[in-house]
């Protein structure tokens, strides 16, 4: 029995190391100077002749975790000399913040309403929400794109924010939680003379804090990494969220890439560390159970 534990533990810790390694690599390399990065990782000197493909003719990357001369040069350049990156970071905040705020107000309200209305097609509404939720991004981008044309908000953050704000994931998650909420509590509140609004604000909503937190962590991870929507809607480079532009930094300014990446990673890691339990809860709830 004991050895089984050890085997399982070893495999899990190996997997954990694989999961962590890329992040450790990026963080460690962010203390290298620009010159060292170029000399280590530049893709030059590949033989064009297939016959030369023997290992001593190829300039392979010199993979490393420990900088030869640790320096804060990358961070200095990022924070003091590169307003463009700070601006794109701010663009990301401008997109994510309204989505999170809107979802955490609207989703519990809507789920509460949906739970309580009496209409024979009410399950059809919920089913529609699920279908919309499950569609691939590029597919739901088509209606988003058409509406954005009607409202004349293409090339504006609103074209990304508004659809994300109304994305059905929030209502779905909260409702999954509400189904198991004891009906007696709501009825007791009603007997005490509380109307639907009072019942919501003093009985229901306080009990939804944990699922709303789960929703916020999931939405943050998703929207902080927004790429597809920005590629379609946002034209000018400097208006893009940093999540999109990171792909250009890697080729345009490799000497700074690691610091920019760490910079962009930090908010995601902070949200994760504070909300880790909520993240697992949110994922477990998001699994559809028929």
């Amino acid at each position: 029995m004991k050895s089984k534990h050890i085997w399982a533990g070893t495999i899990i810790w190996l997997a954990a190391a694989v999961a962590l390694f890329p992040v450790i690599f990026i963080a460690a390399n962010s203390f290298m100077g620009g010159g060292e990065i170029v000399s280590r990782y530049s893709p030059e000197m590949l033989p064009t002749n297939a016959g030369d493909f023997t290992s001593h003719n190829i300039h392979f990357v010199r993979f490393g975790l420990i900088p030869q001369e640790p320096t804060l040069e990358q961070y200095r350049r990022l924070l003091l000399e590169s307003p463009g990156y700070l601006r794109m970071f701010w663009n990301s905040v401008l997109i994510v913040a309204p989505v999170l705020l809107g979802q955490c107000v609207l989703a519990p309200l809507a789920a509460y309403g949906l739970e309580n209305i009496r209409w024979k097609y009410k399950e059809a509404i919920f089913f529609t929400y699920i279908v919309v939720m499950l569609m691939p991004t590029q597919l739901s981008l088509v209606p988003n794109f058409i509406v954005a044309g009607w409202l004349n908000i293409r090339d504006s953050y609103l074209a990304i924010i508004l659809p994300a704000l109304f994305h059905p994931l929030g209502v779905f998650l909260v409702r999954q939680q509400l189904i198991s909420f004891p009906k007696e509590c709501m009825e007791a509140a009603a007997l005490d003379g509380a109307g639907p609004f009072r019942t919501y604000s003093s009985v229901v909503r306080p009990n939804l804090n944990s699922v709303v937190a789960a929703l916020l962590v999931l939405l943050f991870a998703d929207n902080w990494n927004v790429i597809d929507q920005a590629v379609v809607f946002i034209g000018q480079t400097y208006r893009n969220p940093l999540s999109v532009y990171l792909g250009n930094v890697v080729t345009d300014e490799p000497g700074m890439f690691f610091a920019v990446s760490v910079f962009y990673l930090i908010p995601a890691l902070l949200v994760f560390l504070f909300g880790q339990e909520h993240l697992t809860e949110g994922i477990a709830l998001s699994g559809l159970k028929a």
């Binding site: 929400y129 919309v132 659809p163 999109v244 990171l246």
Partner: protein
């Protein structure tokens, strides 16, 4: 109680209007765009656009690549996640910090680690160097057909932990006594897995399968980060096809493509829902 029921519509209304305005209504309306001709005079063209899209070699290539990718990453991701979630259940101390580490890829922005994948997988990257040193011939090491494999690896790194959590939430519901009963009857680990874990986990397995297919479309982020908007044809996916239609502003092409994709995805989901329901009804 009953007289209040219309008030609850007010709670639902903002969300309902938003979903209708940004998703449902324009999608229904896009059927109109999908059936008018491409020349701008909005003449009804029936199913012409659908036929054009389906016979477009680029669309066929994209559909084939997408299917190949789903066919590779969904089963691999599920097996890996099931294995790891069972290990997680069996391991002794340290489960909490290990889970924390396993979940990190889910929140790491795709772009933040793109350099790592490049250093690992590029033509002069670490992996090829190690393969050469291990004695593989240069012809194998430097052939170009690794792109899809690289993509699967990058995608699995980021998304397997989502499945681990889903499997884990199914595993904790299986009563310990079932295993003890099997152990008393002399069943080994494999028999226990087949007769207890696999059976009682099957409703969860369908959930994971469904979510894996849905999530597999998110690979666009990784491809975009690694290869930009125009990747080579062997990893050109339906997502790229759709994206190029956005850029070319051809609504009939875009919308007919969207409807084809919608029908395909809906069909798969419908079949899975049905199967899941049947399995769930059998075991619960």
């Amino acid at each position: 109680m009953k007289k209040h029921t219309f008030i609850y519509w007010l709670f639902l209304l903002p969300s309902l209007l938003g979903v209708a305005l940004f998703y449902v209504f324009p999608f229904l309306f896009s059927l109109y765009y999908a059936t008018v001709d491409n020349l701008g005079d909005m003449r009804f063209a029936g199913l012409e656009n659908f036929a054009d899209t389906l016979s477009n070699p680029l669309f066929q290539q994209a559909a084939g690549n997408t299917l190949l990718f789903i066919g590779l990453c969904v089963p691999l991701g599920m097996v890996l996640a099931l294995f790891l979630s069972i290990c997680l259940q069996r391991m002794g101390r340290g489960r909490v910090p290990a889970t924390l580490a396993l979940l990190i890829p889910l929140v790491v922005p795709s772009g933040s680690i793109v350099y790592f994948w490049k250093v690992l997988f590029d033509q002069n990257g670490l992996l090829r160097k190690l393969l050469l040193q291990a004695g593989f011939s240069p012809e194998i090491v430097f052939q170009n057909s690794w792109a899809m494999g690289i993509l699967v690896a990058v995608f699995l790194w980021k998304n397997v932990s989502y499945n681990i959590v889903l499997f884990w939430s199914g595993l904790v519901w299986i009563p310990k006594t079932y295993y003890e009963q099997m152990a008393l009857e002399g069943a080994g680990a494999w028999r226990q897995f087949i007769n207890v874990t696999w059976v009682y986990l099957s409703p969860t397995t369908f959930v994971v399968l469904l979510m894996s297919i849905v999530n597999s479309f998110k690979v666009f982020k990784e491809i975009y980060m690694l290869y930009g908007p125009y990747p080579s044809t062997d990893i050109y996916m339906l997502q790229h096809y759709m994206n190029n239609q956005f850029q070319s502003l051809s609504l009939p092409q875009l919308c007919s493509g969207a409807y084809i994709l919608f029908l395909a995805v809906s069909l798969v989901l419908l079949v899975l829902f049905r199967l899941q329901k049947r399995v769930t009804d059998t075991y619960q």
